[in-house]
C-alpha cells in the first residue's frame, strides 16, 4: 500500500453533478477519498485543497455522513487570472455508514488540505447465550 511509485499520475478533479440542484451557481467538486479499516476503526482521508479547518462541516444524520468543505475565494478577489489549468470550488461528499460505527465518537482532523475522519467501530458485542427453560 505504501510502496514507492515513480510514475507521474495525473488526477483530474471530479466535479460534483449528482447532488440536488443548488440555489446558487458555481461548481462543486468531489474530494478524492481513501477509506481504510483497522480492527477498531474506519479511517477516511479526503483531499480538499484550499479548505481551512474551520470551513469543514461534518454532519451525521440517519447514518449518512455528509462532508462539506468551503474554500475561501477571498484571496482571489482582486487578482486577474492570466493562465489556468484547474478550476476551484467547494467540496462535498456523502457516505452511508453501517451501524457498526459508534457515531458519538467520530473524530476529525485537518492537515494541509487533507481531512482525516476517524470512525470508531462499536466494540463487538458478546454473543448472548439464551437459556432454554
Amino acid at each position: 500500500m505504501t510502496e514507492e511509485k515513480n510514475e507521474v499520475v495525473v488526477q483530474d478533479k471530479k466535479e460534483l453533478t449528482s447532488e440536488k440542484e443548488q440555489t446558487f451557481s458555481g461548481k462543486k467538486y468531489i474530494p478524492a477519498t481513501d477509506i481504510v479499516e483497522t480492527k477498531q476503526e474506519l479511517m477516511v482521508y479526503m483531499d480538499m485543497p484550499g479548505v481551512d479547518r474551520k470551513q469543514v462541516n461534518i454532519k451525521l444524520e440517519k447514518n449518512v455522513l455528509a462532508i462539506d468543505g468551503q474554500i475561501d475565494s477571498q484571496p482571489y478577489g482582486d487578482l486577474k487570472l492570466i493562465y489556468s489549468e484547474y478550476n476551484i470550488g467547494h467540496f462535498a461528499r456523502r457516505f452511508e455508514l453501517s451501524n457498526e460505527i459508534d457515531q458519538s465518537k467520530i473524530e476529525a482532523r485537518m492537515n494541509d488540505g487533507v481531512l482525516l475522519l476517524t470512525l470508531p467501530k462499536v466494540p463487538e458485542q458478546q454473543p448472548a447465550s439464551i437459556q432454554v427453560n
Partner: protein, 141 residues
C-alpha cells in the same frame, strides 16, 4: 450580511468562469510540455507580481522544492499517502505522486524577492517582476 454572502458566491463564480474561459489561453506560447503537466497550476496577476498557485494537498513542507533560474521556475516534490499499519483498504482514490515541473515565465523575475507559502494544501508562489524587466517611461524633451 446578505451582501457579503452574495459577494462571496459571486467572486467564486467569477473565478470559475474565468478559468473556463482561459482554457485556450496561449499565455506560455508554444512550449514543449503538454498544457496539463502535473501539478496543475493557475497564474494570477497582481500589479507587478505574478502569482502561481497549485493544489498539492498532503505534502510535507520539506518535500517541496522550488528553484528559479532566470525565468524558469521549477516545482518538485512528492506526496506519500500513509495509512496505519494493518489497515485494509476499502476505497482508494488518493494517490502517491512525484511531481517535477518547470514553468517558463514570460517575465523576468526578481529571484531574491520570491515568496512562497504552503497552506491548506495550496502552494502559492509570489513572483515579483524584476526591476530590469519593467518597462521604462521615456520622457520626451
Amino acid at each position: 450580511m446578505y451582501a457579503s454572502f452574495a459577494n462571496t458566491f459571486d467572486r467564486l463564480v467569477k473565478v470559475q468562469n474565468a478559468v473556463e474561459a482561459s482554457r485556450r489561453s496561449d499565455y506560455f506560447g508554444q512550449s514543449t510540455t503538454h498544457r496539463s503537466a502535473h501539478p496543475f497550476i493557475n497564474l494570477f496577476q497582481d500589479g507587478d507580481n505574478t502569482i502561481l498557485t497549485a493544489e498539492v494537498p498532503g505534502l510535507e513542507k520539506e518535500e517541496i522544492n522550488l528553484e528559479i533560474k532566470d525565468n524558469l521556475l521549477r516545482l518538485s516534490g512528492k506526496r506519500k499517502v500513509n495509512f496505519p499499519e494493518k489497515a485494509s483498504a476499502r476505497r482508494l482514490e488518493r494517490r502517491n505522486f512525484n511531481f517535477d515541473r518547470t514553468v517558463k515565465l514570460p517575465v523576468q523575475v526578481d529571484a531574491a524577492q520570491i515568496n512562497a507559502e504552503y497552506k491548506n494544501g495550496i502552494l502559492k508562489v509570489v513572483l515579483p517582476r524584476a526591476e530590469s524587466d519593467k518597462p521604462k517611461a521615456i520622457e520626451i524633451n
